[in-house]
Symmetry: C2
Subunit: 461 residues, 2 copies
Amino acid sequence: MRLARLLGPDLKQILNEDPEQVRDLLDEIHPEDLADIVGELEPDEAAKLLAQLSAEDAAPIFGRLEEDEQGEIAPLMSPERVAHIASEMAPDDRADFFSVLPVSVSDVILEKLEVVDPEAAEDVREIEKWPETSAGHLMTTAYVRVAPDVAVRTAIAAVRAHAEDHKENVYNVYALDSNERLVGIASLCDLLLASHEQPLGEILRTNVISVKPTDDQEDVARQMARYDLAVVPVVDDKEVILGVITVDDIIDVLTAEQTEDVQKLGAVEPLDVPYFKTSFLSFIRKRGVWLIVLFVEEFFTQTALRYYDPVFEAIKGAAYYVPLLISTGGNSGSQSSTLIIRGLAVGEIKPHDWWRILFREAGMGLVLGLMLGAIGFFRVLMYPEQHTDFALTVALTLVGIVMTGCTIGSMLPLVLKRVGVDPATSSTPFIASLVDVLGIVIFVYAAKLVMANVLQAAGVH
Amino acid sequence: MRLARLLGPDLKQILNEDPEQVRDLLDEIHPEDLADIVGELEPDEAAKLLAQLSAEDAAPIFGRLEEDEQGEIAPLMSPERVAHIASEMAPDDRADFFSVLPVSVSDVILEKLEVVDPEAAEDVREIEKWPETSAGHLMTTAYVRVAPDVAVRTAIAAVRAHAEDHKENVYNVYALDSNERLVGIASLCDLLLASHEQPLGEILRTNVISVKPTDDQEDVARQMARYDLAVVPVVDDKEVILGVITVDDIIDVLTAEQTEDVQKLGAVEPLDVPYFKTSFLSFIRKRGVWLIVLFVEEFFTQTALRYYDPVFEAIKGAAYYVPLLISTGGNSGSQSSTLIIRGLAVGEIKPHDWWRILFREAGMGLVLGLMLGAIGFFRVLMYPEQHTDFALTVALTLVGIVMTGCTIGSMLPLVLKRVGVDPATSSTPFIASLVDVLGIVIFVYAAKLVMANVLQAAGVH
């Protein structure tokens, strides 16, 4: 973004007037930065520009555009042209690009790609068949493959041949048997350290950490972080290699998943595109749904208060303490659910730990509730018109409400996880609203316990 | 975790009885998994075990223990022993380890390390002088350095020499001039593709992306993700190289920072250690502080309701709508603040965009408020005792409250960022409480506007 803004309009104008210059710029500026600049052009200008470059030059820029930009620009070029650019893209970027397009458009382009580069078209089909957030969808089919029984010299030749075709960095060579099963891995460092005549088999690492194509991308990220891997191979149940996942894609995944989690915690349907690129209407939809759900849920507080009207009528000013009390329950519930949701996301907490968590959270709720109860007790007594009875009712309510908040806040994410729903799904505000209603009930029962005489005098039972 | 639990007690027993076997296990099991198992031992058992291994074997296990485990185990071994283990650790892990220890302990060990491995001690001092979350603190001083005017053959020899000393994977060689300034980079792939006799200068990439030692680790992560880097060099203002940062450390950073952000959003002081390892008391402290702050803040709702008592007395049942109305304001505020906080964290939003955001959020608040207002209007009229006047008051309040929630929720994180406070710091619940108080005021003014006759009849002005 920064470079695009700095160079900004000047460069845009030059690019527009003399696209030949892009060739020179490619040597000077990282394609990522060029993609930023192209992304700021109007789609038809961007399409015109990309169409004037060779496919080889256009591919690294096009591949780095945001998904929505790709989707806007591609239909403005001829399908043949797009197919040529796609054939020069990295296999994983290419598959991502095809999954952005509407089926009608992507079918036409894929048909053209079939002619231009049948292998690339095959790759797209292989990657696209896996679910969007799985290892299979994230992998690239561009990796260096060798037979396990060759000499190091041959493996180096394979790296050379691969590097001439692909711009991306190579880290490892993969030794496959005649059935495409992964036998072992050698890093480029291993190859450099060996002599050219040495059999590859002698330096192969056979204790390979791999992932399955159906593994969730977050699990893949965790595996790679845990074992400090720059690349991880994707193998099927028969150990046949399907592709490899590189760490730079994992960082993008982690950031995107985290954005999604945070937005869900904040009761927003995850946005697929950055804040300023999300349309007003799409915001209204993504926020409105949850606001309405929570609003309807919160209506039960009004119903509960109305139902217990005689109690609130009998205790002068009691209704004014309700927002304070129930929001404290909501806050403690949010704390617990946040801790559990994050613990589940990074794998520190497993659903079967539920009873340990329940025990801890109930204990924590008790202690925190007693602390707040003590503060509440003295605060109420600061009003000359309030009696110890009412202060005690407030304190008791706080203990009950914070304990309820902590236990519900910690258990609900575990239940959601168990039934297969993402625990982050709006659960913090949802728990807050749930605890709000329960808080009113707790308050009424605390009052009935402590202030029985006042309520009886007013004819409430 | 998983392997440690699977192999569990059996393996623990073997390790305890016959530590010699660890040597064999090192070939079979990834040190990360062994570290899990050692981490589950009692600190004195773990210390005894590590003390019986050679420093070279102990280092990869010890370096992978959690920080709190390292801090517990290290003081149970002799300082000489720890110094020997430290000298075998990767420079970045070593520096992390020293920053875990209390100064009194780390000084003694560093003194011993000075004798065992003066260069390693120097490295620790170099890395430790940078702030904890900076690029300088994250870097390792283990990288391959060559002169820019050598032949490729010499660069390969340098990789060989380095790899014999260090277990970690090598990705690049760094060409430095006589003043240690970074001139260019060649990847191992570049070296493999070149002929041995070719001058290194011919294949050097001179357009190097680097970071400063003072850069924040999150910015480093973003740079590496953006430019698909597996390693990034850290250089000072004079382009002198200080170290390199590898991508596996960046993934750990991203995960840790995200955990911190989520916990802050949920009004918990960030935990430094996993959920189950955090002590009960430390939880009470980290949660209690924020619960009390929010509780005190929320007390203003009670003060406001008490202040406007005549209004709520005059309108039968009005107080029962307060929790519903103010929590809706809080929810819309949470949505806005979540979107802005995340946008700031990933760099999609800059503080100077504030007026665009204000404009958008106010508009969104208006539309969302009108939607909820319409639902609220009809819901109120479902009660036979309620009049259109009151339904209109509720609807008007909702519009005002949602607009307030959206604008305050979006602006406060920007203000916090501007004054240098992390915008994630508990701002969602804080905004919710703030909007709660404002919500009561909005309700009262809406009532005064729509229900002037009712209030006047009751003597309220």
